[in-house]
């Protein structure tokens, strides 16, 4: 184990800004990509559902 205390861990030997800056942005960007895709999927599903009900109405 490299670290004796949490504060030492977060300081990263003085490189905290750079290390955590890299990590946080990476995680954030990948998370945003996921969220945007989930939204896109919902939008596509809503559109199809609308069309399906429209079809059924016409079919009746």
């Amino acid at each position: 184990m490299n670290w004796t205390s949490p504060s030492e861990f977060f300081a990263m030997g003085g490189y905290g800004t750079y290390v955590w800056g890299s990590l946080s942005v990476t995680v954030a960007v990948l998370f945003v990509e996921f969220v945007l895709l989930a939204k896109r999927r919902r939008a596509a599903l809503v559109r199809i559902k609308y069309n399906t009900t429209l079809r059924r109405e016409v079919g009746k």
Binding site: G14, Y15, Y18, S22, T26, L30, E33, F34, R41, N51
Partner: protein, 245 residues
């Protein structure tokens, strides 16, 4: 003999992809946690770069992935052109944004590493410069596809561009390296980090595999979106349980 063409139809592929996504996502999470643990808790402090070197556990995997995705993209593009299958084109389109994101992350983490190591945010290092050009290639691919309204034409045009790009990448990389040695002398290379210990390599490999699995999961998600958007008129779409419920 497996009937590959059966699996290449969006109708069959859509549910299979849906089942595979959680698995890929789970494996990606496990690998990422393991990789981070190795990288931050097991790998020793570097003698020269101190703790700052730990950025490589992010930087190297995303850089690998950014280049690798372009190759896979070109592979699907080629398949799409040869066999004229719709799904291949969608795969290529689905990979491009993720590839661009990884390329951006590679540049971002590279800059954040460069600042403490070299004292400047941007170094015209061969690798960073190639990554920047790779980002332009991804953006060009995406811009071309979004500019063409007819999706079939967009797929095919994108495929040609991806193939041209993949042929050019080695040339670009070689030329940038040549230019770099000419103008700067030997530069500090990011991956040739001093005395790479085995444990560091393990951490990097774990993270690279995690990035790979993430790419698989997210690009399958995007393919499913593309299928829903493009095939919304098809009868089978209306029979899906997520539509019926």
């Amino acid at each position: 003999m497996i009937d590959w063409f059966k699996y290449s139809s969006p109708k069959t592929f859509y549910p299979i992809a849906g089942k595979a996504i959680p698995w890929f996502a789970a494996i990606a999470t496990v690998l990422a946690v393991a990789g981070m643990y190795v990288g931050f808790f097991m790998a020793p402090t570097d003698a020269q770069q101190g703790e700052g070197y730990r950025i490589i556990f992010l930087h190297v995997p995303v850089s690998w992935m950014s280049m690798f995705i372009y190759v896979i993209m070109a592979f699907w593009a080629a398949i799409g052109l040869i066999f004229n299958s719709r799904l291949s084109g969608m795969m290529a389109s689905a990979l491009a944004p993720t590839g661009a994101i990884f390329t951006f992350l590679s540049l971002w983490t590279g800059a954040l590493w460069g600042k403490p190591m070299w004292g400047i945010w941007w170094v015209w290092d061969a690798r960073l410069t190639s990554e920047l050009i790779l980002l332009f290639l991804y953006l060009g691919f995406m811009a071309l596809q979004s500019a063409i309204d007819d999706v079939r034409r967009a797929d095919k045009a994108g495929a040609v561009l991806a193939l041209v790009g993949v042929v050019n990448i080695p040339v670009i990389y070689f030329s940038v390296q040549w230019w770099n040695t000419l103008h700067q002398g030997a530069s500090v290379s990011l991956t040739r980090a001093p005395s790479m210990a085995t444990i560091m390599l393990v951490g990097m490999l774990l993270m690279a595999l995690a990035a790979w699995m993430y790419t698989a999961a997210i690009s399958l998600m995007r393919v499913r979106c593309l299928i829903l958007e493009r095939e919304h008129h098809a009868a089978w779409i209306h029979e899906l349980k997520e539509i019926k419920q």
